[in-house]
């Protein structure tokens, strides 16, 4: 991502300086993130069951309603191999904390042999869930939990006509749980891997069951259940101890990294007067120094860019750090030119914008990493109300912030004491958050894609966890 993708022969001459590594190319990619609506929710690509699978159900023993959401046992049960069993059309989704579905027993028929459970893909479609390997079933007639041939145990109450019964998978605890009339009746450890299908079964005359895959509100308060599960996890996490004042230090280094100097000064002043004063072990060695480097210059440039004063920012850069802007084809210059163009569009100076674009932006067309942003910028001209358009993200504050962050990183990279130029790109806070996210994703992928991923955005809005 950070390597120059323009390494082909046609452009390599122009890009001689930063061919080995132009740090600002990293921000070029960031600048385009605004074009899609935030980072995509990685968990939404999973399909959830919506209806019953009428193709592989036990044909002949049961009738499925037109909407594929209810079944009825129409024949006479003669033995153990004529169960009316049916699976959902999709396996239970796994990239979440909990999966849950419900059935409503409309009619328990002559014997009340209704069952709810989970079965794997190759399940024998004429047997009760729990009678065969790789299946779990909670049975209405005896209230037992069946989990494979010869394996059953006392579990919950029996259920019959008029009862609403639910089956769920708790991916955090690796358990199945079942509910009756909105109350959890029991949990059982899940030792199955691979996709599991929500399954229901009827096995005596006139038994009729409706299924709810979430198309209607559940009787069971799933939200509350999830909240409690998250709370349990949170309590475990809260037991971990952190080094003293570590958050304080992380915030401080963030302010330093991005050059929020005024905030930093207030922060330092306030912490000197707290009782007892916040003690921060001095950041040892070069890393600490790198970061106070050029603080007031970085602050000034950030303010200018945030105010849309791109010309002044350019001039200051030429004066203070000519090496950053001497190559007019660098990603830094490009981002600044784009921003200048955007600011002109913002104030409605369209003619001037066109003129500026012809001089400064045209050269970037047909350069692979630059092209997308140039096109978006130019597209602003096509709309009467560009902020409403698909390229409206360019007019938001966050775009100015990206440009300011680019300049900030480039100035940091001019520090002669710098050890690793990659350190300019990410604050400590960002490195820690990346590590957190990566750990959670990796853990999930090593557990068969089960469970919730960590997303900073949802953690901030107070909901989901790892």
């Amino acid at each position: 991502m950070m390597t120059d993708t323009n390494g082909n022969s046609s452009s390599s001459n122009n890009h001689h300086h930063h061919n080995q590594q132009d740090l600002s190319l990293y921000f070029l990619e960031l600048s385009r993130h605004g074009s899609s609506q935030g980072p995509c929710d990685m968990d939404e690509d999973e399909e959830a069951p919506t209806e019953l699978n009428t193709i592989n159900s036990s044909g002949g023993f049961l009738v499925v309603s037109q909407d594929k959401l209810s079944i009825k046992y129409t024949s006479v049960d003669l033995h153990g191999h004529d169960v009316g069993v049916i699976q959902a059309n999709k396996p239970a989704p796994r990239k979440r904390l909990v999966y849950y579905f419900e059935i409503y027993v409309k009619d328990a028929g002559t014997k009340g042999h209704v069952a709810i459970g989970f079965t794997s893909k190759g399940f024998k479609m004429r047997r009760q869930p729990g009678w065969e390997p790789n299946s779990y079933g909670y049975h209405g007639d005896d209230g037992l939990l069946y989990r494979g041939p010869g394996k059953s145990e006392t579990f919950g109450p029996t259920f019959t006509s008029g009862d609403t019964v639910g089956g769920g998978i708790n991916y955090a605890t690796q358990e199945f749980f079942f509910t009756k009339n909105a109350q959890v009746v029991g949990t059982v450890s899940k030792d199955l891997k691979g996709p599991l299908f929500p399954t229901l079964a009827v096995h005596s005359q006139n038994e009729e069951v409706h299924v709810n895959f979430g198309q209607k509100p559940f009787a069971f308060d799933l939200k509350e259940f999830e909240a409690q599960e998250r709370m349990k996890q949170q309590l475990k996490i809260e037991e971990i101890t952190l080094p003293a004042n570590v958050s304080y230090g992380i915030v401080r280094s963030y302010l330093l990294h991005y050059g929020y100097e005024d905030t930093l000064n207030s922060f330092d002043m306030a912490s000197r007067s707290t009782v007892p004063p916040v003690y921060i072990p001095q950041e040892n060695g070069v890393d600490g120094q790198e970061i106070t480097y050029a603080l007031s210059h970085r602050k000034t440039l950030r303010q200018l860019i945030r105010n849309g004063e791109i010309d002044t920012a350019f001039n200051k850069l030429r004066e203070w750090y000519p090496q950053i802007v001497e190559d007019n084809t660098s990603a830094t210059c490009f981002l600044l030119h784009c921003q200048k163009f955007i600011e002109l569009v913002r104030v409605g100076a369209l003619e001037e914008a066109v003129k500026y674009g012809r001089i400064e932006l045209a050269t970037f067309f047909r350069l692979p990493s630059f092209e997308a942003l140039v096109q978006d910028c130019v597209a602003l001209l096509a709309y009467e109300q560009p902020q409403e358009s698909s390229v409206g993200y360019l007019l938001q504050d966050s775009q100015r912030e990206v440009v300011a962050d680019t300049v900030n990183a480039m100035i940091l990279s001019t520090n002669p004491n710098l050890k690793d130029s990659k350190n300019c790109l990410h604050s400590y806070l960002e490195r820690l958050l990346r590590q957190l996210t990566a750990c959670c994703l990796e853990k999930r992928s090593l557990s068969g894609d089960q469970g919730e991923a960590f997303q900073l955005q949802s953690a901030l809005s107070g909901g989901k966890n790892c």
Binding site: I240, Y254, D262, N265
Partner: protein, 242 residues
């Protein structure tokens, strides 16, 4: 190959099987890290949440201007909250109680434990200042009746009064009550109660996320060897131990 070596090899193999963990090299891991997108906006929110919850009102104001991040609480209420906290921290407990009641009288009404701890702190301050008679009177009139309602309050009260029995408090087994940390404890309890009354979380989110990082790393340790961050203050990525 001698039998000895065969046995050794088998042992080594079975050990490797038992602890067979996926090994993720630094290069592979860095690639994964680079695929993670953290929005600047979200980090700004996290920092703002810390400043606001910890009561850095001026820094929060400055941060709003420098980063364009909106605070998730009215900044004016932070000033009031910090005034209460500061009063407790400097031993002006009466003043703090008055300020809390000005802010929202329900806070102490609905929080008997907090009220007791504030009164206890008041008693501690009286003892610290050598006002023995006043302290006794206060303990009997204000605190003892509350102790009757609640066994743990009574024990706390007895513990506190024990301070009076020692001329040299440095020898006193409950001497830590006179320590500055006791004031800080009470102060943070008041602080949390005020935040809760403003329907704001009482703790900043950042420490929880850092704890979650340690937790997530511990969990992943069971399944894989990968570059960890053990030293949080410097966010240094270490090479995987194989």
């Amino acid at each position: 190959m001698s039998l000895f070596w065969i046995v050794i090899r088998q042992l080594a193999e079975s050990e490797a099987m038992a602890t067979s963990k996926k090994v993720i090299t630094r290069e592979e891991w860095e690639k994964k890290l680079n695929d993670v997108k953290i929005r600047k906006e979200d980090m700004n929110k996290l920092v703002m949440n810390f400043l606001v919850t910890e009561g850095y009102v001026e820094a929060a104001e400055k941060f709003r201007m420098e980063s364009g991040t909106e605070p998730d609480i009215d900044l004016a209420t932070i000033t009031d909250r910090m005034a209460v906290k500061k009063a407790v921290q400097s031993g002006n407990v009466e003043d703090a109680i008055e300020k809390v009641n000005d802010l929202n009288p329900e806070i102490l009404d609905t929080n008997p434990q907090l009220f007791f701890h504030l009164q206890q702190q008041r008693l501690i301050e009286l003892i610290r200042n050598g006002k023995v008679e006043e302290a006794l009177e206060f303990a009997q009139e204000e605190l003892a009746p509350r102790g009757e309602e609640n066994q743990s309050f009574l024990e706390e009260l007895e513990r506190t009064v024990a301070l009076l029995a020692f001329e040299d408090v440095s020898n006193c087994p409950v001497g830590e009550l006179l320590d500055i940390s006791q004031r800080l404890k009470t102060a943070s309890e008041v602080n949390a109660a005020i935040l809760t009354s403003q329907s704001h979380e009482k703790d900043p989110k950042l420490p929880s996320l850092l704890k979650m990082l340690l937790w997530a790393q511990n969990q992943l340790d069971e399944k894989a060897a990968y570059p960890r961050i053990t030293d949080i203050p410097t966010a240094t990525l270490e090479d995987p131990a194989v």
